[in-house]
């Protein structure tokens, strides 16, 4: 057995181990649910629907101010967790920030029940019975929140319940500071 053949075969060890190690550890840092949205950097898709109160609402009315578009449902547990944060944000930035809710795969009664239990912040919540608004926003499941700047461009899409950290960070990007 020649020395060259003898040493060459040891290459097999790092050749296999290094990619496997890399894959396993990068995989661990990944959240399979955190999918980047293709809408970031583009204008918010236009939508119009009826609110829970029965009024007509159009996304045009969001122009000129930063906005939060929050997709939620009454059957969604993480939505309960993030709701107080949204209420606080609405109070803290009243007049500077617009909030809009999109009700996802839910009944009007269910949605109203949620607001009665956890607090109605007073912002419009749109019903989307055909699911078209959810498709246009590329929603994978509630809760999701879109951060839109005053020019109507989507700056960030958060998947999962909002945290204080993300909220503060992204609102700053929209030009709103504590």
């Amino acid at each position: 057995m020649s020395t060259r053949g003898g040493l060459l075969r040891w290459v097999a060890v790092p050749l296999l181990v290094v990619p496997v190690t890399w894959l396993l550890f990068t995989g661990l840092g990944r959240d399979p649910r955190d999918i980047p949205s293709p809408l970031v950097g583009k204008p918010l898709p236009a939508f119009a629907a009826t609110t829970l109160e029965g009024e007509e609402f159009s996304s045009e009315s969001l122009d000129g101010r930063p906005a939060l578009v929050n997709v939620w449902a009454s059957w969604c547990d993480p939505c309960v967790d993030e709701h107080p944060l949204l209420l606080a944000a609405a109070r803290a930035y009243a007049g500077e920030l617009s909030l809009v809710g999109i009700v996802y795969q839910d009944s009007p009664d269910g949605a109203r029940g949620f607001l009665a239990r956890y607090g109605d912040g007073g912002w419009p919540d749109l019903l989307d019975p055909s699911g078209r608004i959810a498709i246009d926003l590329g929603v994978t499941g509630p809760p999701e929140t879109f951060f839109v700047d005053a020019a109507g461009i989507v700056r960030y899409r958060h998947v999962g319940p909002l945290t204080e950290e993300v909220l503060v960070e992204q609102l700053a990007v929209l030009g709103l500071d504590r």
């Binding site: 293709p38 795969q105 055909s130 699911g131 078209r132 498709i135 246009d136 926003l137 499941g141």
Partner: protein
Amino acid sequence: MRSLALPIAAAALLALVAVAALQLVVPREPPTAAERAHTIAAELRCPDCQALSVAESRTAAAAAIRAEIAEQLAAGRSAAEIRQHFVARYGDWILLSPTDPLAWWLPALALLAGAALFGWWWIRGRRSSMTAPPRAITDADRRRVRDAAEALDD
């Protein structure tokens, strides 16, 4: 009879392949709108399921997407345009099959490489093994025989 069997079988299968090929070449009815919608839906991933296509999934989100596909087809869009419509909203992730050609070439190349390796190994093995001289029996060999015999009492 046996000497004819293989040629007969081969001829029969070739004839079948020819007929099948003819069937493919002869124009068949264009797919209905429902069939076209189903084909497109089968290529899209259901956004709130694990690994199911929009065609298979029974969630409300999938139903909404199927309705959207039907509407787009009725408006005259092509399959590629409809797929792009959803990619623009959800990202590349909504397509069940990767568009990157690498995803298709890599496995094919790997299989070819594997087959080439197998061929090279085989030929090399045949060439070299003929020249190895037998070696003398040692005590280690006798021990191995004893152990193997014990193990065979399984």
